[in-house]
Amino acid sequence: MNNYCFAGARAYVGSRFQEPADFWVQKGKWVKGPLPDAHRVEAQGCWILPGLSALLVDFQEPIRDDVYTLHDGFEAMHRGGFYSALYESAANPLDDIQKLKAIRDACGKSGLEFHFLGALSVDHAGKSLSEMLELASGGVVGFGDGDRFPTSLRFIRLALEYAGMTGLRCFFQPLETSLMGKGCVHEGHYADAFGIRGIPSQAETIAVHQILELAGWLKVPVHLKQITCRESLSLLRLARDRGIDVTCDVSVNHLLFDDSSLEALDTNMHLRPPLRTAEDRTALWNALSDGTIQAISCAHVPVLPQDKETHFEDAQPGAVSLEIALAALLPEARQRLCGGEEALLTLLVDGPSRVLGLPPRTLAEDQNIPFLLYDPRVERKVQIQDFCGQVHNSPLLGAKIQGKVLGDFFDGSWRPTAQ
């Protein structure tokens, strides 16, 4: 049966929820009802959402398929309601056209929509430029060096100049390497309390300042990944006032946690960049509200259990979040984000498109757009089984979250989510 009626659902269309109504689907497309032979799904209180869009995912295959595979990543996206993603591989830098073709072909088999960031430098080493012109002609939508911040300002300048020929945006994780050193938490109260080496906010703000100065000078659009502190936000606002084309994102975990969460020294809280202060977290939510930050990044970094089952400083940084991002953010967004859940959905549906200058994604009648049925009322505890593959490195393990993907329409077929 190809026709469905999701009775009483609220469709999210063009950044707004519509009033509850029957949502009719014929061969995977939203159509005007009624349809006489439609299968009826009771969906009162549920949402019909366009597929969410994930910023910056890396499923590590083929270099680290011992940790995570593309299939794990596709499944994680499906569970979390994500149907498109901006892929940037840190494990396997896309620094030549053959690697790009290989990963694009592999991801293409999923039926999901993927965009790719090419590497700025060979092996993300910040020494030799990658073949950016060829990568651009191969379809990358921007360039970046993963989580590595080039140590040479001269190299950043040259990379921006070269990338500038393509008109594409350059992505940077602003963490000045020498100030970061071997730090692993925010250099503040908790770093001192536990005697753990810290990473000062200045490691970020100095890098932000460097990138913004170069971007403004060379007139190249840039994106700053995973902003964590309020001083960076001030720099971003000033830069925009100067006409610099800069976008930025904040990660799910930096919206949900601050360094007070380090009390238990849970190694899943070991993140890079580190969790900052409660004041910083408030500033990040406010920056989402006022548009200073354009998107929320999933920063989905799979880490094997054995690499987390050690002492805090020794643990490998990173967290997975695709499977639970929306449910984890919803309660906080209702409290902290201007526009509440609608604004949050806009960020998760359209954020990456805004960064990449792609057309907005919205539900529309007679359009073949993947969409999902989401129940925002389901309260559940995050469990290991919620995560895909062999990893479950989430700081939310054991926490209560609200909401669940009940199923989706994808490739014209209804796929209920496994319970």
Binding site: V122, K127, S128, L129, S130, E131, M132, L133, E134, R154, F155, L158, E161, Y162, G164, M165
Partner: protein, 313 residues
């Protein structure tokens, strides 16, 4: 009778149209001499020229030497590795010592920008720049223009595209200044990392920056491919020679966008398969070897006129 207004040939920036014309028109006469069975004239008999080459050079040095010999000048050659400079002598002391040997004219090539000007300021000899740093290479530009004028008659209204390592090219700079003075339009094309950064300065002189090589050659009357130094890749200015060739190399595919009779030029030496494909370098539109021949005539004209020679009007 016409004489040059300039005393030295340090560069072409700021050189007036009349002086450029005088050298180019005089070169025509010397070019004819080069086709005679006896290619020698006594124009510079008794004049002593020293060729001071502080940088490696094959064609420019030989071209100057030949020009001097064709003019019957007495010429001596100097290479820095075999000189007192390698023993720590200053540049100025070297010059003063050479000058003390009653030299009339100095042809100098040096990696340092401004060295010819420095020598001109401290010497009574006439200085001819044979290439200083990335600044100027005036005789190369003059021979380029001479070669183009052989086909076009005049450069007025013509479009010349210069492709490649413009930022570090003395040939590109000299051509930009002289071609603009003569009424031609100049286009620069190359990777952003190899183009001048302060474009306003060149744009004020009428130079146009065209990022795509297909657009850059479209409608051009002549295309000059610049030699790509392989060190540019080591300096992180380029990803690979392969990408350079694919996006900025002069290939038959790129030149299919150009006018049918477009002139293909190169100052040499050529990296075949990098900045220019062999089929283009050796093709029917190529005047690369004509440039070499014309170089002798142009240098003869420059040396003759700078030594006080004149052209009959």
């Amino acid at each position: 009778m016409s004489f040059l207004k300039i005393r030295h040939l340090l560069g072409l920036r700021g050189v007036c149209k009349e002086d450029l014309r005088l050298i180019l028109d005089t070169a025509k006469q010397f070019r004819e001499i080069l086709d005679r069975p006896v290619k020698k004239v006594p124009s510079l008999r008794g004049v002593t020229v020293v060729n001071l080459f502080f940088e490696n050079s094959t064609r420019t040095r030989i071209s100057f030497e030949l020009a001097e010999k064709r003019l019957s000048a007495d010429s001596v050659n100097f290479t820095s590795s075999a000189s007192s400079l390698s023993k720590g002598e200053s540049l100025l002391d070297t010059l003063k010592n050479i000058e003390a040997m009653k030299i009339d004219l100095v042809v100098v090539r040096h990696k340092g920008t401004g060295v010819p000007g420095f020598l001109a300021a401290h010497s009574d000899a006439i200085i001819v720049n044979a290439g200083d740093g990335a600044n100027e290479h005036p005789t190369q530009s003059l021979l380029d223009i001479f070669t183009m004028e052989q086909k076009f008659g005049s450069m007025e209204g013509r479009t010349v595209t210069i492709v490649g390592d413009v930022r570090y090219s003395r040939v590109a700079r000299s051509n930009a200044w002289a071609l603009s003075t003569l009424g031609a339009k100049v286009r620069f094309c190359g990777p952003a990392t190899l183009l001048p950064r302060n474009r306003d300065f060149f744009e004020a002189e009428g130079v146009e920056f065209v990022p795509d090589v297909h657009d850059a050659v479209s409608g051009a009357d002549a295309v000059i491919a610049l030699r790509l130094q392989k060190e540019r890749q080591e300096d992180s200015l380029l990803p690979t020679l392969r990408e350079y060739r694919n996006f900025f190399g002069l290939t038959p595919e790129v030149l299919s966008q150009a006018k049918p009779g477009v002139l293909i030029m190169h100052p040499g030496p050529i990296n075949r398969g990098v900045e220019i494909d062999s089929s283009v370098a050796d093709g029917s539109n190529s005047v690369i070897l004509d440039q070499v021949t014309n170089g002798v005539a142009v240098r003869m004209a420059a040396l003759y006129l700078l030594s006080g020679g004149h052209a009959d009007e």
